[in-house]
């Protein structure tokens, strides 16, 4: 095996790993760094269950090579909560019953967080199109959209209060 040595940051922590040149970042995260919150639904970039951020940009981890992460910042669902406190999106997904089986939830949370960073006050349509790359087979998306709307509202209020 011709390994590539990679240094990167995952959820703010420095990590180093060796992986074959053709191994996906998804496999690296799951199998080498034990971040199994990142899910594999298809391995072809169609379902969004492996949504992560790479230098702040939303990507499917299955479409990125582990070797490409050299020197970059990776964000996964495991990095969403800070300290003992859940992110408002996490809170609202529980509060609004926005998950049933939960396999797509990590991807939705990462994608929704990315949306709200870009657009703190999205319309329903903007939410639906921003999350169109994340498949959910259980919920019909109804309660997911409502949870994102609710979290967005809470986050806007939080920002206002901080000002």
């Amino acid at each position: 095996m011709n390994g590539v040595t990679v240094s990167a940051k995952v959820n703010g922590d420095a990590v180093q790993y060796v992986c074959p040149a053709d191994e996906s970042l998804l496999d690296v995260l799951r199998n080498r760094l034990n971040l199994t919150g990142v899910k594999e639904g298809c391995g072809t970039g169609d379902c969004g269950a492996c949504s992560i951020t790479l230098d702040g940009r939303l990507v499917c981890a299955c479409l990125v090579l582990g070797a490409e992460a050299e020197g970059r910042e990776i964000g996964t669902v495991e990095g969403l909560s800070e300290g003992g406190k859940l992110h408002p999106l996490q809170e609202e997904f529980i509060e609004k019953a926005a998950l049933q089986c939960g396999i797509c939830t990590p991807g939705f949370l990462v994608a929704a967080k990315s949306l709200l960073e870009r657009n703190p006050n999205p319309t329903e349509e903007e939410i639906r199109y921003a999350l169109a790359g994340n498949l959910c087979r259980c919920t019909g998306y109804d309660k997911i959209v409502r949870a994102v709307q609710s979290a967005a509202k809470i986050m806007r209020r939080g920002k206002k209060a901080a000002r």
């Binding site: 799951r30 298809c42 997904f93 049933q100 089986c101 959910c136």
Partner: protein
């Protein structure tokens, strides 16, 4: 029966509230462990080689090169699975589906498997296995498969349910007939008769989590299986039977399940993973790719259905018949039977007959998919019902109300109904604001009804009270969509304690007695029933402990609002003892406090729903947009309304995908052409509107809390509701699902011609 199961109409304080689910934090932080998230020291990677042919003799498999590849620890073919089924044809079908035995029966059929030190080595090993095929004629279409010219899939199949028993092989595995009355006489009384044929294409459950397991089986015949499944007890029994193991020596743990919808009630590769582990004497992790999930795990039937219904001008149906042809893939199933049973279940009919034909084709073995077989029958029947209403000039909802089944109706599939919800759901539809929304150009509205039986089954539950008064409830049904929250609510209700005091665990196969698979919308119904009885048993123990503490007869102790109270004037000086207080003293009053229950949860209440839907069809592209969608369904009693609504919405969304877009597309070569989420497109967030729900509660008299299963019925009406809406929008009757843009455009063109 030692227990009173009758509905007792309690004044609930916990049940019916919208509490946060206990597994929520695990699932939003990524901590929850699904099928592919477990690992074992020294584990190997398992991979399966699959047939590229729809139908072929396997004349030779040469595994020698793969075996010699460094890092390969085990290679298997059909020869490594001796026939231990003892003549049980159903078990043999499962075994043959797990690994071909001399013949590949569909594109994707497993022919060999390897276990290697890593994925790369396993993939290389698959390429080194040389399979020599002799291709055979194939058939993938249900109507083609019935024709005398069609290639026979299994030479041992004789059509069951026909007298005299046939002597020649057929692709029709079974004929099933249901009904009563005299349909000929009924049609003779009709003023109007509508007869129409319909087709539906094959769809997949489409759970986002692929099948995955971690199998360990040692040379001593004992093993463990971690697996994403709806029925770990059933998986244990099937795997043990196929591999010659003692049931008690195979511990199966159900992981968190990333969606199932019926598709994870069947064993697909787990025996292969266990056999690889036995051969290599190391743990084997086997995770399917999405391509494998589509090609080799059970989709639902494609169908072809003829329906004929006659009615009087006053709107009363006089007779109804249906002939339903359901393909079951390469192995016999029971799918046409379910179609025939459910087809007319919504209506009160004097003369009715439905005949189902279970048809073999070269496609994957069909599996249950949420109210299996009912949506296709409903599509055909509810379309004809709409056509009939239009023909006699009656409102489609009024027509249904006039003919709806009610308490005392003899159902078309046999039983006489108790209190049921079809009438009330239709009344709710009639009065719903949705029905008053003004329709615009190219828009149409559709209504349809649906039915599902629901199931109870074997259930075993344990309730243990800790010394601090917290309660651990262990159940054997899998939590597919929030049932842990519902069951904790039920335990809290019975014990009179806080919801947060209860923790629900899904027990493995060595922790509880047998539990049937979590299917038939039975999770909350049956485990709820067993939880109620287990809690009542625990309450008896709590009362005994209180009586002993007070030194009074147990008959003078009652359990109210979470505490033991001493009744009678002579006991006035005894302050109540809370559950926590009794639990704290338990080490000195007789040891641990527990309640247990095992039950066959009979009396699952039948479930009805009515859906309404508004669509807009683009006449230039044929694309359909769902503008508004509303589900009305009888839940019996909604234990946790959020998750009941979730089931309504999820089923509707799956039905919308099926109605408009999803289908298995086979080429002339018999190969599946769209085995991926890009080409087999399930609805995405931007495809759908909010899905409104209305929960009705018509108590099931056979459950202490009135519960009916709620999981499945919601997928039954959408095909027909959308079919009716699209037909109304374009002015042409739609008869083929999915109503994809090309089919709609063609229907419009044909309609204008």
């Amino acid at each position: 029966m030692p227990y009173e199961t009758d509905y007792t109409n309690q004044g609930f304080t916990k049940v019916g509230t919208r509490v946060n689910r206990p597994d929520g934090v695990d699932k939003v932080t990524g901590r929850a462990k699904y099928g592919a998230d477990a690992n074992a020291a020294g584990q190997l990677v398992g991979r399966v080689l699959r047939s590229p042919h729809a139908h072929a003799l396997i004349t030779k498999i040469d595994t020698s090169k793969a075996e010699k590849l460094p890092g390969v620890k085990a290679v298997l073919t059909g020869k490594d699975f001796p026939d231990l089924t003892g003549g049980n044809r159903g078990l043999m079908d499962i075994l043959e589906n797990c690994m071909a035995r001399g013949r590949a029966l569909y594109d994707g059929h497993a022919v060999a498997a390897v276990a290697a030190i890593d994925a790369d080595t396993a993939n290389k090993a698959l390429k080194l296995i040389k399979v020599t095929y002799k291709q055979l004629p194939h058939v993938t279409d249900v109507d083609e498969a019935i024709k005398p010219s069609a290639p026979i899939i299994h030479d041992w199949v004789r059509t069951a349910g026909v007298t005299p028993a046939p002597t020649t092989a057929s692709n029709v595995a079974q004929r099933s007939e249901f009904g009563h009355g005299d349909v000929d006489a009924g049609f003779a009384q009709a003023d109007v008769i509508i007869e129409k044929s319909f087709k539906t294409e094959q769809t997949h459950q489409g759970y986002i989590e692929p099948h995955a397991c971690l199998a360990t089986l040692g040379p001593d015949g004992s093993g463990e299986l971690w697996v994403t499944t709806q029925g770990h007890f059933t998986f244990r029994n099937v795997c043990a039977s196929l591999l010659g193991l003692e049931v008690a020596k195979l511990k199966v743990t159900s992981s968190e399940i990333g969606g199932g919808f019926g598709g994870k009630t069947h064993v697909w590769t787990e025996p292969v993973a266990l056999q690889l582990s036995r051969k290599a004497n190391r743990p084997v992790k086997l995770v399917m790719s999405r391509d494998e999930v589509f090609r080799a795990t059970g989709p639902t039937s494609s169908t072809s259905v003829d329906v004929k219904i006659g009615a009087k001008r006053n709107g009363k149906i006089t007779a109804a018949t249906a002939e339903l042809r359901y393909q079951s893939g390469a192995f016999p199933g029971m799918w046409a039977m379910f179609g025939a049973m459910t087809s007319f279940a919504c209506y009160d009919l004097k003369n009715v007959k439905s005949v189902g034909f279970d048809v073999l084709v070269n496609r994957p073995k069909v599996a249950a998919y949420r109210a299996p077989s009912a949506p296709m029958a409903a599509f055909a029947v509810e379309s004809v019902v709409d056509m009939l209403a239009a023909e006699i000039g009656m409102d489609a909802v009024d027509f249904r109300i006039k003919n709806a089944a009610k308490k005392g109706t003899k159902a078309s599939y046999g039983p006489v109904y108790g209190p049921i919800g079809i009438g009330p759901t239709l009344d709710a539809v009639k009065n719903h604001p949705h029905m008053k929304r003004k329709l615009g150009k190219n828009q149409g509205r559709g209504v349809a009804c649906g039915f599902w039986f629901n199931f109870g089954g074997q259930t075993c539950t344990d309730l243990n009270i800790g010394v601090d008064g917290s309660v651990n409830l262990t159940v054997g049904t899998v939590d597919v969509g929030g049932s842990r929250a519902s069951l904790a609510l039920i335990a809290a209700e019975e014990l009179g304690i806080d919801y947060e005091q209860v923790r629900v665990t899904i027990g493995d196969t060595n922790s509880l007695g047998h539990n049937d698979t979590t299917e038939g919308s039975r999770g909350t119904f049956s485990s709820g029933m067993a939880t109620i009885f287990a809690a009542r048993n625990a309450v008896e123990v709590l009362k005994q402990r209180a009586a002993a503490t007070w030194d009074i007869p147990v008959e003078q102790v009652v359990w109210e609002a979470g505490e033991a109270r001493a009744k009678g004037k002579q006991n006035n000086n005894l302050p109540p003892l809370s559950l926590k207080e009794i639990a704290a003293k338990s080490p000195r009053t007789g040891g641990p406090i527990a309640g247990h229950n095992e039950v066959v949860a009979d009396g699952a209440g039948v479930s009805f729903a009515s859906h309404m839907c508004d669509v807009e069809v683009d006449p230039e592209t044929g694309a359909t947009k769902i503008l508004r969608y509303t589900v009305v369904q009888d839940a019996g009693k909604a234990i946790h309304p959020d998750y009941v609504e979730g089931q309504f919405q999820g089923g509707a969304a799956q039905g919308i995908g099926w109605a408009l877009n999803e289908e298995y597309i086979y080429g002339d070569d018999g190969r599946l052409q769209n085995a991926g989420f890009l080409d087999y497109r399930i609805p995405v967030c931007s495809d759908l509107p909010f899905i409104d729900t209305q929960i009705l509660e018509i108590p099931n008299p056979n459950h202490p809390y009135g519960v009916r299963g709620v999981g499945e019925t919601s997928i039954v009406p959408p095909l027909a509701a959308i079919g009716n809406a699209v037909s109304n929008a374009v002015g042409v009757r739609m008869t083929h699902v999915p109503m994809s843009p090309p089919r709609i455009l063609k229907a419009i063109e044909d309609g204008q011609a």
